[in-house]
């Protein structure tokens, strides 16, 4: 069971639980049977809707009942009061607060919004606040992030205006709060890619953006050189097409060398401090050397990939076979 501590219960407690469970089981089974019966009789009324509410209250993962609920809504939709759809959103919100990781609930909420009659951008904008709130409770909930991307896409198409820049600001605040938030770094990759591909930036804007990104990364690797989020992002950034396009080859090589110098400095500092090399520094140095060569820069005597791999085989034994593979590939 995810995250639930194993316990030994006394016989007495288990017996008491059994007794309590009998009543609960009866209630639950009665409700379930009567809901499935009305469904099979083709009854799609607001009364039946109430019945599904009761069951979903007890078990929010009962997909069949969610389906029945949606069929009912589609049937009664013309007869319901205007606040019906608001109440339906409210209903899923209560569930999400209690079960923020249940797929079925997120799915239902999206379905409700998609079917919301005359949904204006206000409705979707409000969803952005909702998802802000949910992500502020758990900034790694990937349902939340997925939902956020869906909402933004919707708003962009309604308003005919791209929101990547605003979203990048949001993601930056999330990363600033915790630079180990991999979900936010992931989203940063999506947004920066979008900004370059879809927005009409002039050359200077592009270059400024790349430069400010370099200093952001540098700041991050100095702040926490043990965090894989930052390193995976760096790994992407130094070799992606955008950077290669925006910078001249000389500038690109200079950038790589600057990052390389910083990484070496950090690694040396770790050695001085603890006598141990920083494995992530070594892993990235290998990537940088490879990227430098691909950019046409001759490393010659400065090439240390072989040596880094040897060190990693010893210092990072869990992944030693990967390093052996890479060194045979050399």
């Amino acid at each position: 069971m995810h995250g639930i501590k194993r316990q030994q219960y006394s016989r007495e407690i288990l017996k008491q639980k059994r007794i309590q469970d009998q009543q609960k089981i009866k209630t639950y089974k009665d409700l379930t049977h009567s809901a499935l019966d009305t469904r099979d009789k083709g009854i799609f009324t607001t009364d039946a809707l109430q019945l599904t509410s009761k069951i979903l209250e007890l078990n929010p993962e009962f997909n069949t009942i969610w389906n029945y609920r949606r069929d009912i809504i589609l049937t009664v939709t013309n007869d319901v009061k205007p606040d019906f759809w608001e109440n339906e959103l409210q209903f899923t919100m209560e569930k999400l607060k209690r079960f923020p990781k249940v797929y079925w609930i997120w799915n239902h909420r999206i379905w409700v919004l998609d079917n919301y009659p005359n949904a204006t951008d206000k409705i979707w904008l409000r969803e952005l606040f909702v998802v802000d709130k949910l992500l502020s409770m758990d900034a790694r909930n990937y349902h939340g992030w997925h939902y956020r991307r869906l909402i933004v896409k919707k708003l962009e198409s309604i308003n005919g205006k791209l929101m990547d820049k605003e979203e990048l600001k949001y993601v930056t605040t999330i990363i600033n709060k915790n630079i180990s938030n991999y979900s936010a770094w992931h989203q940063r990759v999506q947004l920066i890619t979008n900004i370059f591909n879809k927005h009409e930036l002039n050359k200077k804007e592009m270059k400024d953006m790349v430069l400010s990104e370099i200093s952001y990364i540098t700041n991050a690797i100095y702040t926490d050189a043990d965090d894989q989020s930052v390193w995976f992002y760096t790994n992407w950034f130094i070799a992606n097409d955008i950077v290669r396009l925006v910078l001249t080859n000389d500038e690109y090589i200079k950038m790589l060398k600057d990052i390389k110098d910083n990484v070496i400095l950090i690694n040396n500092d770790d050695v001085e401090f603890s006598g141990k090399e920083n494995n992530w520094c070594l892993k990235i140095l290998i990537v940088i050397e490879k990227t430098l060569k691909e950019a046409g820069y001759e490393l010659d005597k400065d090439e240390h990939t072989e040596e880094y791999l040897k060190k990693l085989i010893d210092n990072d034994p869990q992944r030693r076979n990967r390093y052996i593979y890479l060194s045979t590939k050399q």
């Binding site: 639950y28 997909n63 995976f232």
Partner: protein, 327 residues
């Protein structure tokens, strides 16, 4: 400290006991997972070479009672709606018992294929059922089930492959949707789907190396594997990560001994079963994936498991390989 070992007999007893919990409220609250649970339990038993612990006839009868008369496909429990996830479980159970022929009655095979294919969307993705939830899990479940049934077609496979490729991320992992964050379980579903489609070559060698790197970084100092960076380890990733590595031929990019210890420590030495992490409550889900991980690494002479299908290789060897040649 005594050396840890696999508590095979206890795990068999534990799985056997799962259906004797009808006095527990939770048993009824989990009806919507019952068919998946049967698949997990049966496969776990197969891995421990104890397939006969379940009564074949009863299991097949239960599977067939989950058939959705209205829409085709299988639900998790009698009278529940069919869904791709549970349809795959049903097909897997039937294949494991070499009983796919029961589908021939009343055109069920055809209806089942129609149900699955009918949920494919124009962009190649699949929705789980008619209400539109899209997720790479469903691409995998659809291709897997169709593959077991021998009913893959280029019309289904080609767009599905294109869709999977859109879910490949900058870090080498895969997300549930284009643009979604990499997650080890999605690596399994995406690589598994490509493998079933015989289209791993749609990824370049260096893309696959990136995938292998990202997956190998899931191992934590305590030997356990996590699903995403900065998360705690969990036994179920023994399967999601390991099977993914196995599919791309890089199984040894993590440390077996450490992972084995982590899985064994998560065993309940009183009532059997395996949990997500040491000292947590066990369940059949973590039990199967812990065992499947140990099998993939070749420990304890467990029955070999197929990393693509999560079924015994003896069963999957009988599946027709796609593309079908010389029909």
């Amino acid at each position: 400290m005594t050396e840890l070992t696999l508590l095979r007999d206890k795990h068999i007893k534990y799985i056997e006991s799962l259906d004797n919990k009808k006095d527990d409220y939770e048993y009824w609250l989990s009806e919507h997972l019952r068919l998946n649970g049967v698949y997990w339990g049966l496969t776990a038993l197969c891995i421990m070479d104890s397939k006969d612990t379940f009564k074949k006839d009863e299991v097949i009868e239960f599977v067939m009672s989950c058939w959705d008369l209205k829409r085709g496909g299988f639900g998790p429990f009698p009278r529940h709606d069919s869904h791709l996830l549970t349809t795959l479980s049903a097909v897997q159970i039937l294949a494991t018992y070499d009983s796919l022929s029961v589908l021939e009655k009343d055109d069920k095979l055809e209806l089942c294929v129609q149900f699955i294919v009918g949920n494919q969307l124009p962009d190649g993705s699949f929705q789980g059922d008619r209400f539109g939830e899209v997720d790479t899990r469903f691409v995998y479940t659809a291709l897997n089930a169709l593959s077991i049934l021998g009913k893959l077609t280029p019309e289904v496979v080609d767009p599905a492959v294109q869709y999977i490729l859109k879910c490949y991320n900058f870090d080498g992992g895969f997300g549930l949707f284009p643009g979604a964050e990499s997650h080890a379980a999605q690596a399994f579903t995406c690589l598994g789907a490509l493998k079933i489609a015989n289209r791993l070559d749609a990824l370049t060698a260096s893309q696959i190396e990136e995938t292998g790197w990202w997956l190998s970084e899931r191992q934590l100092p305590d030997g356990g594997l996590n699903g995403r960076p900065s998360k705690l380890p969990d036994v179920c990733y023994s399967w999601w990560v390991l099977s993914s590595l196995a599919i791309i031929g890089k199984l040894d990019w993590i440390d077996y001994e450490g992972l084995k210890e982590f899985i064994l420590e998560a065993q309940d030495d009183v009532k059997g079963g395996i949990s997500d992490r040491p000292n947590n409550e066990v369940d059949v889900y973590h039990t199967i994936f812990g065992l499947a991980g140990l099998s993939l690494m070749g420990f304890y002479d467990l029955i070999p498991i197929d990393p693509t299908y999560c079924m015994p290789t003896s069963v999957t060897a009988t599946f027709k390989k796609y593309p079908y040649i010389g029909k």
